[in-house]
């Protein structure tokens, strides 16, 4: 069953969050949902259901593509969101290099992670579409090739963000790769496209298929892009919140670590009259 359950995991508003009594007295739900994103999730679910209906039931077979046209209601939309994710990642990375705010790094990292999933799906659906259309899973088509390289670039970013280093170090280095993401994609795309157009045998001309363009086809195509953008937005928001929470958890830990460090200092002081222990300070820690 292909029911989209993109937002199915959005917790219900009355979540009892039973297993976490030790959090502070405020009865905030322990998850990353908010009423706005719950609404967004429900809208996305409904829109996705409608897309499935349009793609499989309402829209006709294409004269050239046959039923395969139904894959086009998802593949270009995925590719669009993958590129959108790159754009977000690069913008956020520039922002991070200029302003050095932790949030911009979380945003860039989130966009790259979501983008990597979407790029992988773009490649998968592209290959699945290519098998019946071209007879092979992979052709050195310009778009497919440059998307594959984009996937590798995203993996590089994620690997760099996973290094064992101070958060600022990690963020700064990742941001440099993030800034270069879009220029790299452009360069890769340009080179691959020239390469394939200068050397290509004409079989791929079939890529520019000749649709018996029904209105419904065009509508579904555009609509799929809208739906996938909604999915992307939902994923990005939640991924951002997860990253933000991880950052907060790290800072909380840091506060306690500083306390522990001070206690260590107090505990190992010199004995008796030479000692002038620092008074405990209420402020301090991270701004």
């Amino acid at each position: 069953m292909t029911t989209p359950h993109t937002a199915a995991s959005t917790p219900p508003p009355t979540d009892p969050h039973a297993p976490d009594p030790p959090t502070t007295g405020v009865a905030a739900p322990a998850h990353t949902g908010s009423s706005a994103t719950r609404t967004l999730g429900l809208v996305t679910l409904a829109a996705m259901a409608l897309l499935v209906f349009l793609a499989f039931v309402a829209s006709p077979r294409d004269q050239v593509q046959g039923d395969l046209v139904r894959l086009l209601y998802i593949h270009p939309a995925l590719a669009w969101t993958a590129y959108l994710a790159c754009g977000v990642a690069t913008t956020a990375s520039i922002w991070h290099l200029v302003k050095k705010t932790p949030g911009s790094d979380v945003l860039a990292h989130s966009a790259v992670e979501v983008g990597a999933v979407l790029t992988a799906l773009t490649l998968a659906t592209g290959s699945i579409w290519g098998r019946p259309t071209w007879g092979v899973y992979w052709v050195w088509d310009a778009r497919l090739t440059s998307t594959a390289l984009l996937f590798l670039l995203l993996l590089g970013y994620l690997a760099l963000h996973r290094i064992d280093a101070a958060p600022e170090v990690r963020s700064r280095r990742a941001a440099v790769v993030g800034v270069l993401l879009v220029p790299n994609v452009v360069l890769v795309h340009q080179s691959v496209e020239w390469w394939r157009t200068l050397h290509q045998d004409p079989t791929l001309a079939r890529r520019d298929f000749d649709f018996a363009t029904s209105d419904l086809f065009m509508f579904t195509l555009v609509y799929s892009v809208v739906v996938m953008s909604l999915v992307f937005t939902w994923l990005l928001i939640h991924r951002f919140r997860v990253g933000w929470l991880a950052l907060q958890a790290e800072e909380l830990w840091l506060d306690t670590a500083i306390e522990a460090r001070r206690a260590e200092g107090a505990g190992t002081t010199e004995p008796a009259e030479t000692t002038r222990t620092e008074p405990p300070r209420s402020e301090g820690g991270l701004p």
Binding site: L254, A257, R261, R262, G265, A266, T268, T269, E270, G285
Partner: protein, 243 residues
């Protein structure tokens, strides 16, 4: 007169570890301050923060009149850090190394050659690759680099480690000389006997905070007679302008 080092509740992180957990420290110009404390207390971190190498995460920290939370760059050429690492390229010769770092700091090459001379590096060792040197000889090269930069603030991390007796005497002499010429010295050492004979003040750090801070008592300040050293050290007291 503004202190050379002025820290209030300064916190510094090594990765995710709060190596300095709120340091309060003031050092005046011309002072020689001994920093002591157990391993892992934060001595090296404090020295690196003073040099502008490590960032200050919270609190206030001013060195040579510059706020380190805003600008860690402009003080760097004015500070000399002698760390555990000697900052040398193994494949280059002694002269190559000293000249490279002196040029990088826009120091006078004559100063560099003079410094090599004073540390006994001008002769046979001059064209030896640093990789072939002993630990003590490497440290001498590092001291020569430091000297050629003519820093206003000397930050020495276990400077005696690896040096032979001559080298230690030489270093102590250089430190006292520099302080007399107006430079400020903050140094971490476990060699208390030796260090106390040079320092004006002892600061203890433990668990990333300063726990004790007291002047070295005694009529003339440093008790210069404890080690055989040139007599130029004997009459060194605390500078007059120290409050």
């Amino acid at each position: 007169m503004e202190p050379v080092i002025h820290f209030r509740s300064a916190v510094s992180l090594l990765g995710r570890f709060p190596a300095l957990a709120g340091v309060d420290l003031e050092v005046d110009p011309g002072e020689i301050v001994l920093l002591r404390g157990p391993n892992g207390a934060g001595k090296s971190t404090l020295l690196k923060v003073c040099s502008g190498l490590l960032p200050v995460a919270a609190g206030t920290a001013r060195v040579l009149g510059v706020d380190l939370t805003e600008d860690r760059h402009s003080i760097r050429p004015r500070v000399g850090l002698l760390g555990h690492a000697t900052f040398l390229y193994d494949e280059l010769t002694v002269a190559d190394n000293v000249e490279f770092w002196a040029r990088a700091a826009r120091a006078d090459l004559d100063d560099a050659h003079h410094a090599m001379d004073r540390l006994g590096l001008a002769g046979r060792l001059r064209d030896v690759r640093v990789a072939r040197l002993s630990a003590g000889q490497r440290r001498r090269v590092a001291i020569a680099v430091l000297l050629s930069r003519r820093p206003e603030l000397w930050l020495l991390d276990e400077p005696h480690a690896g040096l032979d007796a001559d080298g230690r005497d030489l270093l102590d002499g250089l430190v006292v000389e520099a302080a007399r010429a107006g430079a400020t010295v903050l140094f971490a050492s476990h060699e208390l006997d030796r260090a106390l004979s040079v320092a004006h003040r002892v600061v203890t750090i433990a668990g990333g905070v300063i726990t004790t801070d007291e002047p070295i008592t005694g009529a003339t300040g440093p008790t210069a007679h404890t080690v055989g050293r040139p007599d130029d050290v004997v009459d060194v007291g605390r500078p007059d302008d120290v409050a």
